[in-house]
Amino acid sequence: MNTNAIKDLLFKMADDALVIGHRNSEWTGIGPMLEEDLAFSSMAQDKIGHAQALYTILHEVLGERDRDTLAFKRQEGEFKCCQFVEQPIGEYDFSIMRQFLFDNAELLRYDMLTRSSFQQLAQLAKKVRGEIKYHVMHGDAFVRQLGNGTDESHARMQSALNVCWPLALGIFEKSELEGDLIKEGIFAGEDELKKQWLQKVSKVLTEAKLKVPAIDESKIVYGGRKGFHSEFLKPMLDEMCEVVRTDIDAEW
């Protein structure tokens, strides 16, 4: 079993979950309606829970540092999240489109992982799959609703999709260690995931009367999986870690 390859997979999943969780929590108190305030807040809590569970596996099974250290005491360059999740929440159209595109990829990824030969990961995937299923239900419902809503809601969703698309494709940035994961039945790989994702999101986007933008391969935003981030991650981490950094050795 290639431990480094598994660690690489778990870090990118955990960091995605932690960062999108923090971003979605930024809607708490300012959601466009009370129910959406609740929805984004509770989905944010779910995501942070997933990150916590993944960091726990990294620590207890794979010998990494403890989960609080992994979450709060790493440098920007050590984070393996894709650049999509670190973007500011922007307007609600951007946030809901990101939630839809990202969570559809999450559900398919966790679905695949329920069959992983890495037992701890398979167990976790089975446990949290239901939560992510609801996140997808939420995203699908809103995209369909707003895509078919008024001229304004349709136009906003289309432009949000245009902004999100090159970033969303960056979710599937491949690692050079991935071959081992596929060979050992741990994870079926980013290409397979992307194929299933394209099929699923295209279906909902068509129902929402939205057009998938045709973009050049070179426009896809890669880098996050290798520790290269946009200008938005560092300020977010600074804020997220502010309390911890006031007394780095404090016991919580």
Partner: protein, 123 residues
């Protein structure tokens, strides 16, 4: 000066006070029913605002399925619920007095116990 709190600024209170309430900004209501366990009765939980059944379910999950155990939620348009007119409430007025309809009113307990006692001693 306008409030910096987005929760305040997003509702134009001045216009609302003047009676300028856009009808399209008000979604219809749905009655939400909550089921704790599969097979158990489905109990009315409250209402949500939404435009479609799909959206009503998503919102209901957030509001009524977030805490505690939930097996399923039902939603139905409030306009699809039929009720007695409120002024006919008097048709139920004397119901609490009809205690003879409750099983507790049957004075058979003593006889059952007596029979059981007898049966026991005989056996």
């Amino acid at each position: 000066m306008n409030s910096l709190d987005p929760r305040v600024t997003r509702l134009d209170l001045k216009k609302v006070a003047e009676g300028d309430v856009h009808t399209n900004s008000h979604l219809i209501t749905w009655e939400v029913f909550h089921q704790e366990k599969r097979g158990k009765q489905v109990v009315h939980a409250g209402i949500v605002h939404a435009s479609t059944p799909e959206m009503a379910l998503v919102v209901a999950k957030e509001v009524f399925g977030r805490r505690g155990k939930t097996s399923n939620l039902w939603v139905a348009k409030t306009s699809d619920v039929y009720t007695f007119p409120a002024e006919d409430e008097d048709i139920f007025e004397t119901t609490p007095e009809k205690t003879f309809r409750e099983p507790g009113s049957y004075k058979v307990r003593d006889r059952i116990e007596k029979f059981q006692q007898q049966h026991k001693t005989e056996a």
